[in-house]
Symmetry: C2
Subunit: 110 residues, 2 copies
């Protein structure tokens, strides 16, 4: 099992995070870590490629700006297509989770 993330869930987490409002990359990572009480770690080498994928698919848009700390940042915004994709990801994830839960149910001892 992965130490930082459950593989395959990063894009869903990013889209969900952007549902609360536009954020730049670094802030997205921080948000996921904080909201998860540091149960999840988002490595930069995972995040930025994921954002590239989301951009390429049209699920987010981005524009350059300046952060509250006066640094050059690229701010991401979820698109309507991104919202639809998020819904698909969530229902797929829930489906798989349901399956896993059933398999992982405790074994009844004889």
């Amino acid at each position: 099992m992965n130490k930082d993330l459950l593989p395959g869930t990063l894009e869903m987490l990013v889209l969900q995070t952007l549902l609360r409002g536009p954020l730049h990359g670094y802030a997205i990572a921080q948000s996921i870590e904080q909201v998860s009480d540091d149960l999840l770690q988002v490595e930069e080498g995972s995040l930025y490629p994921a954002l590239q994928r989301l951009l390429r698919e049209g699920w987010v848009t981005a524009e350059w700006g300046v952060s509250a700390r006066n640094r050059k940042v690229r701010t991401y915004l979820i698109t309507p297509e991104g919202r639809a994709q998020l819904e698909r990801e969530v229902s797929s994830f829930e489906r798989l989770m349901k399956g896993i839960t059933q398999v992982m149910k405790p074994v009844e001892e004889a």
Copy 2:
């Protein structure tokens, strides 16, 4: 999101399945699919490499035998190390799930 499995969970599912008793590969796949009500699909191209990994790590042992359908089968048995590994995988998985759940909590509208 993956259509068949949540990436990174297959070994945990296999070890858990073997907790109920030794099974051969094909039967492991069938068991996971049936117990999950077909929410999970286990492709042979995923399963057999996973079993090789489990063998290599010493988490299962295997021996050749004959199935109830009179076919030559390789039956897998979870080892004590495998049980310990399963516990680690489960707690890691639960930790990640908890983090995901927190991030995926509905956004409160203003």
